[in-house]
């Protein structure tokens, strides 16, 4: 099997040797990614911090015995982070809470305009309403900027299945946020036209 080029290889080696500068660099490079992954998968800031911290702890334990060439360290770390997220999502389903499910989106009408923060909140809420697997596909490909092959491998699905999850997830998001795009109907009609250079 061909060896996989890993941009983190040297950094992981130095972390494994206990180099303080490398540890700082690893934190700067990976902690924001793990926090973003967990926050968007779980939609809970406190739980996201716990997951990010646990994922980094596992990275510290793994670094001294990391064998380069088999996988990218970033992909391995995402696997750890996703497993931790799914553990928590499973626990949520097992422990019924009194928190009511997300209400249908009753955000402000488009003519009132949206502040950036409100817009972000509405998008986050729409993301949380997606089925877990669709949300995971969008989080990995859009926010974490993994390649389709990396994301499909992490999700243990084919690239075709990943593409199906992505397109269904994005369509559901677009429908959920349709009122935020004034004139979207007109645009959709326009984009539905056959292109001249087909």
């Amino acid at each position: 099997m061909a060896s996989i080029a890993d941009p983190d290889e040297d950094l992981v080696r130095r972390v494994g040797q206990g180099d303080p500068a490398a540890i700082q660099t690893m934190v700067a490079r990976k902690l924001p990614r793990m926090l973003a992954l967990a926050q968007r998968m779980l939609g809970d800031a406190v739980e996201a911090e716990d997951v990010a911290q646990e994922a980094m702890l596992r990275a510290w334990k793994q670094a001294p015995r990391w064998r380069p060439g088999k996988a990218k360290f970033d992909t391995w770390l995402h696997r750890v982070g996703l497993n931790l997220c799914y553990d928590r999502l499973r626990r949520r389903r097992e422990i019924p809470t009194e928190t009511p499910p997300d209400r249908p989106d009753d955000g402000p009408a488009p003519d009132r305009g949206l502040l950036a923060a409100e817009l972000g909140q509405r998008v986050d809420a729409a993301l949380r309403r997606l089925p877990d697997r669709q949300r995971e596909a969008i989080v990995l490909c859009h926010y974490q900027e993994l390649t389709n092959i990396e994301a499909a491998s992490l999700m243990s699905v084919s690239v075709e299945a990943l593409e199906s999850l992505l397109s269904r997830g994005r369509r559901a998001l677009r429908q959920s946020l349709a009122d935020m795009a004034p004139g979207a109907d007109v645009d959709s009609r326009e984009t539905g036209r056959k292109a001249e250079w087909i």
């Binding site: 972390v15 934190v27 902690l31 926090l35 510290w60 950036a116 859009h142 677009r174 292109a195």
Partner: protein, 143 residues
Amino acid sequence: MTMNADRLKILAETYGADRRRWPVAERAAADTLVARDPATAERLMFDARQTDAALDASPRPAVSAALRDRVIASAMAAGLSPRKARVVWDRLVLWFGAGWAAAACAGVIAGANLTQHLTADDRADAVLYQAGLAGVDDTEVLG
């Protein structure tokens, strides 16, 4: 897969309008198609671009200083002690070891000297005792 308007639209609806997120194998062909008719391509990718913009409105969570400090501290807890500190520790261990070895050697030498003095005193006493006795061969006492 053949790149045409339909495929371009499908890729945009799947991966978004930013072609850096598209499958590597199809990017070059898509770039060529877009370059040939940018206006039509943009029209096909309009919905996807809107969805991208909405997704990008989701704020990226910021790492607090407290979380960063906890994570750095956890590296130490996981046994990743900085090499510099490890070298200092190794040297300390070496110095302490050498000190203990030197003390042990000094103890052995002092013990040996003390034993020699005691043996000499015993032998002198034995000679004096023997001198006071009649009819005893020196060799019996001194060996």
